[in-house]
């Protein structure tokens, strides 16, 4: 009798948990620019409108490394509560910082592993730079939903394991000129394709190549 009750309870819990939901829809977002070319490093996320999502940040910190005097990856979507470490793989030192409102921090000159991972505990866009190498930049988009994906070189971002329901789809890219938002309804087991045409601003990062002086009149 006790064993039966336990089994029934377990089945009930599994059926109610997000993991146990049988329906697992997905949304495949195709990000293109106005010339119909695929756009990589775009972040697409779905905010459920019917329920408040449960956020489970990863147990281990994510990694944004400094390599060849650049941040890799360039764009990182995370859920609120995620920790990120910033290991330095270069032979030179860096000074990582952010003055963005959702997360302000500073890791002064270091090499190798950073002392501790940084906790991103507020939603929003965090821009990360190096106070020594002006051209180094990375973005962390802290989201209040667990349903997100980053587009690959082909421009596609697949957001899976979606309970059926109504969602708000939003897309962000570092060069996005205008906000992109649309309502999406996810059905059971369907993969709903969403083509997002993004108007992008020109890529105007700070030039990394050095300057020269000298050789003039003395």
């Amino acid at each position: 009798m006790l064993c039966f009750r336990f089994l029934a309870t377990a089945l009930l819990l599994v059926s109610l948990s997000p993991v146990g939901v049988r329906a697992a829809g997905a949304v495949e977002v195709h990000c293109v620019n106005t010339k119909d070319q695929p756009v990589a490093d775009a972040i697409a996320w779905l905010t459920p409108l019917d329920v408040t999502p449960v956020l489970v940040p990863p147990a281990e910190p994510l990694v944004i490394e400094q390599q060849d005097q650049e941040f890799r990856p360039y764009v990182t979507p995370v859920v609120v509560g995620t920790r990120i470490s910033f290991p330095n793989r270069d032979t030179v030192q860096h000074h990582v910082y952010s003055v963005s409102k959702p997360k302000q921090f500073e890791i002064p000159l270091y090499r190798g592993e950073s002392k501790e991972a940084v906790l991103f505990d507020h939603p929003g866009l965090v821009t990360i730079g190096c106070n020594i190498h002006d051209w180094m930049i990375a973005y962390v988009l802290v989201l209040a939903t667990p349903y997100y994906a980053k587009s690959v070189d082909a421009g596609t971002a697949l957001i899976g394991s979606l309970p059926p329901g109504h969602y708000r789809l939003e897309v962000w890219h570092p060069r996005l000129a205008a906000e992109v938002t649309r309502a999406v309804t996810v059905a059971e087991t369907d993969t709903s394709p969403q083509v997002i045409t993004m108007t992008l601003k020109p890529d105007r990062r700070i030039r990394r190549a050095p300057d020269a002086s000298g050789g003039g009149y003395k």
């Binding site: 003055v99 500073e106 730079g129 002006d134 190549a209 000298g214 050789g215 003039g216």
Partner: protein
């Protein structure tokens, strides 16, 4: 391999150098390594290497220039940074080898950023001391330089740099010594992450070395076309040089030089760029006025 015989003259035992080296030894232990090494190689053509008027015997010349620098960086509180390093500079004149020189020495610097990031103003002070070796021993000696710089980036593409510099060169023959003050403003605009256009204006007040073709007179060597030498003849006494394969008199004059330069620089990669510069310099005082046109082309690489 080309071997160049050089003469190194230590005019003073350089107590200033010893003090600087002692400071570097202490701070070098504490300094953290951040790559600041860079090299630049340029080919320069100018139409008036003699820095003279038309009647004085203007001569054009090609010069190859090589520069290298490296620095260590130590971050201090409140967005301050201390630098120690070294500079190397050399010029080889293809037409007149007597102008060849090489200089090298330590440098220290201090930088304050008014905040974090690329868009805050940056203030920097640098002190250099260099030993100068030259093909003509009279041009060898020491030089000091103190530089003040203020940099401000306005956008990803636009940056303004203002520089003030005081320099002194103390050479074996005082004709080639100088003291000068320089103020420079340069605006750089990046069309994209590859092409940069830079325009600058520089004002220099100080000693310049000007040359004048010489002729033998009963009173000795004198500027060509003048009856003799000395102030009464409108030209001061000069030093006879054979740098230009014919007799010239070298003079140290105090003058203002206004220079205008435009540089186009395409990036070859993340750490390498080509540079192409055109420069116009006008030097004048109450007695003389001469113009120099320079163009240079080269490459710069940061490690």
């Amino acid at each position: 391999m080309v071997r160049v015989k050089i003469h190194i003259v230590i005019r003073r035992i350089g107590s200033r150098l010893l003090r600087l080296l002692a400071l570097l030894a202490v701070l070098g232990v504490a300094a953290a390594r951040v790559s600041g090494a860079a090299v630049t190689a340029l080919a320069v053509w100018q139409d008036n290497i003699t820095n003279t008027t038309a009647s004085g015997g203007r001569l054009p010349a090609w010069t190859l220039s090589a520069m290298a620098s490296d620095e260590l960086r130590r971050v201090l509180p409140n967005n301050n940074t201390f630098f120690i390093g070294g500079n190397f500079d050399s010029e080889a004149c293809m037409d007149y080898h007597g102008l060849n020189f090489a200089s090298a020495g330590p440098a220290v610097g201090f930088q304050h950023k008014f905040g974090l990031g690329a868009y805050v103003p940056t203030l920097r002070f640098d002190l250099d001391v260099n030993g100068i070796a030259a093909t003509e021993s009279a041009r060898a000696g020491w030089s000091d330089e103190a530089t003040f710089g203020l940099g401000q980036r306005f956008t990803e593409a636009l940056r303004l740099d203002l520089t003030g510099e005081w320099s002194r060169a103390d050479t074996r023959d005082e004709t080639f010594s100088h003291t000068a003050t320089v103020v420079c403003a340069a605006l750089a605009y990046d069309f994209n992450d590859r092409w940069r256009l830079k325009a600058g204006v520089r004002w220099r007040n100080g000693d310049v070395v000007s040359y004048y073709r010489a002729q033998w007179t009963a009173w000795g060597w004198a500027p060509s076309g003048y009856g003799g030498y000395g102030e009464e003849y409108g030209y001061p006494t000069g030093r006879l040089v054979t740098t230009f394969d014919q007799p010239y008199l070298a003079y140290r004059l105090h003058a203002d030089t206004l220079s205008y330069a435009v540089t186009l620089s395409p990036a070859l990669g993340p750490n390498t760029a080509l540079v192409f510069t055109g420069e116009l310099s006008v030097t004048e005082n109450e007695s003389v006025r001469y113009v120099n046109h320079l163009i240079n082309a080269g490459v710069t690489h940061r490690f």
